[in-house]
Symmetry: C2
Subunit: 520 residues, 2 copies
Amino acid sequence: MTAEQIDRLGAAVAALLPGVERRAPCPLEEANLPLPTLEPPPSIAPLCSTDRRARSSHAYGRSYRDVVRGHRGDFAAAPAVVAYARSEADVAAVLEWCAATGTSVVPFGGGTSVVGGVECPGAVSLDLTGLNRVVDVDRASRAARIQAGAYGPGIEDGLRPHGLTLRHFPQSFECSTLGGWLATRSGGHYATVYTHIDDLVESIRAVTPSGVWESRRLPGSGAGPSPDRMLLGSEGILGVITEAWVRVQDRVRWKASAGVHFATFEQGALAVRALSQSALFPANCRLLDPGEAATSAGISDGSALLVVGFESADHPVDAVMARAVELAADHGGHLPEGVSTSGPQQDAGSKTSADTPSEASDAAGRWRASFLRAPYVRDGLVQLGVLTDTFETAVTWDRFPALHTGVREALRRASKEVCGGGVVTCRFTHVYPDGPAPYFTVMAPARRGGELEQWAEIKAAASEAVLSLGGTITHHHAVGRDHRPWYDRERPEPFASLLSAGKRALDPGNILNPGVLISA
Amino acid sequence: MTAEQIDRLGAAVAALLPGVERRAPCPLEEANLPLPTLEPPPSIAPLCSTDRRARSSHAYGRSYRDVVRGHRGDFAAAPAVVAYARSEADVAAVLEWCAATGTSVVPFGGGTSVVGGVECPGAVSLDLTGLNRVVDVDRASRAARIQAGAYGPGIEDGLRPHGLTLRHFPQSFECSTLGGWLATRSGGHYATVYTHIDDLVESIRAVTPSGVWESRRLPGSGAGPSPDRMLLGSEGILGVITEAWVRVQDRVRWKASAGVHFATFEQGALAVRALSQSALFPANCRLLDPGEAATSAGISDGSALLVVGFESADHPVDAVMARAVELAADHGGHLPEGVSTSGPQQDAGSKTSADTPSEASDAAGRWRASFLRAPYVRDGLVQLGVLTDTFETAVTWDRFPALHTGVREALRRASKEVCGGGVVTCRFTHVYPDGPAPYFTVMAPARRGGELEQWAEIKAAASEAVLSLGGTITHHHAVGRDHRPWYDRERPEPFASLLSAGKRALDPGNILNPGVLISA
């Protein structure tokens, strides 16, 4: 964002949070960056960089905490070396050196972690974005072999000529990679059925300090516990994912979307529950509370907004949309802007609106535009001195009302105590037949210089509330280092023992992303 | 089956396999059963039995090999003790004794393993069928807490008063238990979308020698690798599953089914591929080759038969069925008996035909009746001296034609060499967008007394062909002891190291179902 854009954002935010003011970030040349402490051997030296730009850009992810530190020019947690792998052999060579020297190594894709997943001071940051090809396409099985460092848009570019799409659109789509999605169990954009990257995987290949881990490419199997499901969510502690066979789809030809208004968020939640249990499988089913509906979709009458959409590559979706609207109406929903439909689109090989989830000019469309802008707005908010973060979870329907109330209250109370006030909103990002994935956003006036401590207090308050009210510490942001205390309480203790023992077997030197998920 | 029924079966089979003749099984009182070698301590003695009936009925599963040995009165592999747990405390007490004495212990549910999953000579067989209650129902989230030893019909009986169903119908439904389904990643009856029990799990509770393993009840999570996915398919080597929260559904109200004929199995396979990639999500999508269509569904014109069906609790399914028929017709399918539909059914709380997948009187209905009878027919075939087994796998569409040809040829060649001839048929039991799950059946004239050696040769030939042609050694029958050699070659070696290390951490005495999945 330009300074001018940030000032405009500041004027808009001032209505909610008075007194915000832009401060320019510390220039990189003035930033605090420890001297590199490692010297790679000649065999891998050509892959490695120790310059300030490389190391500072691999120091952090994209959390509020990360952006604040970058803004301050605080790169104390920078890696000692960035190794840019161009092949799997490079990955193996870097791991070999790290194992031999006992050096920590952190796989780095797009660097969009918001949970401290890539932060490891003095380590080797292993940049995978040189492994960025769509290697094979199997049209009959609708599957593709893709390298782990490929970014979202590159994946779609590689599949488009085949009339195919991975159809996995996390909010970080443009800046994140397949390997990162797999290592963190990315949630994707779609609200129901096959939304998590977990369900799109045929096989995964990874390099571990004990050799290559590659599962057989299969549409389904019952042969023991799934090896893929152990790498999914492993966050770089078991091995470095180098490529995967993933399930791809024909490009969407029919679409319908609608914005349904509800008097309250609670009423909308009942409609979403009915929809999630209908087996209609909407592609989109996002419920915004009145606060989010106002700021993200321009709804000015205090309604909650349900953005519901259907898509198909094979058949019209009018009938399922009609039934969804009927279910919503049964729960008090109304559609001031009606249903917008499109299709069939024939040019499946060219770049069309089917590339991305929805493109309406109505409330649903405005929400989408706002959704895609959100990650970029965060930088501006930090410059303005606004503390902002998101807390996401999933919970069963029976526990949802108490969790919703409890987490909002915890966030409001903490914002007031820590920052003197703040704004809290909530939406559903994904829904399941047995419960929603609520996503809370907080914005509060930060104290310059005290942002990290303020953030830590608010984060702890939200996390305690989520855990005590039956949610998971993370639905799709992963664990990293930030969620560790609550993750440790959430997971079954024997599973932690199994994971620790398994990691020791594969990574006896504990070089792989130490501190994430388990302790040595 | 009565002797008379078996003789009628023999007359029918004689057309394919001349010379079959019934021999009565060895009576239990004459069977060879080792003397019990263990004496349980007084604390658990009341749970335990060492009598012949208890031990012989827990010696084996239901594979051909098992039925042959039972028929011969060979119970050499019987457990020393059967412990009947009535509570989780009983499970913990039995494990404690086994750990203290270094005694192997095998969790036993319905005992329907067809892969040697419950066979452990001299061990303690821990019978879980006393833990058989539907404990809690959460109507809002459509979830239920069910004990591991509950059989399929008992589960449905417990859910029916709430208008709910688990809708998980493996072929062994009547004789198998929730815990067994979870431990072996049961496939269920439904052909697409949520068919594996894996996808129906909210949380699992298990007792390990190192304490209780219980995951948080959640609709979805991204917090590290899924603990549930490690217990799913663990086949009793990590812990004894005692209960689970599972996702249940509203009872089906609308149905449509049809039998589509194709000139060849290959042509039918192309139609099934199109259907599996359409996102129409049929509840049933089984393709029978001409041999199966003739014996299981009375199709006499040499056609392959596709049994396709749709079901919904929420909305009519005519439109999706019409589109499926259109797709099938595009690939040369025709429907001599048309589409049969039913619904809406209103009495969701009473026992209706919606309890089970389909009840038509047409080809689809005949296939279903045959499908449910199959497990019982096997006993009769063994008495008649017919070697019979099934080999199931899953493979991507690009590899399917070669696998289909190769496995059939391997089975025909092996049957001819080993038994002098035999009949080989194939069907799809499940289909995924990226590939089918083919299921091969072989019937051949056995040599009395040589059945086990003959079976081993045929099993090895089929398994080698499956593995070398890109399939999995098991799609839904699990690994047990019979699939071990091929499972070891299929799984990633680093995953085997992780699993071994994890098991050692939880079960340092290696008492839990030793020999299954990994070696000590």
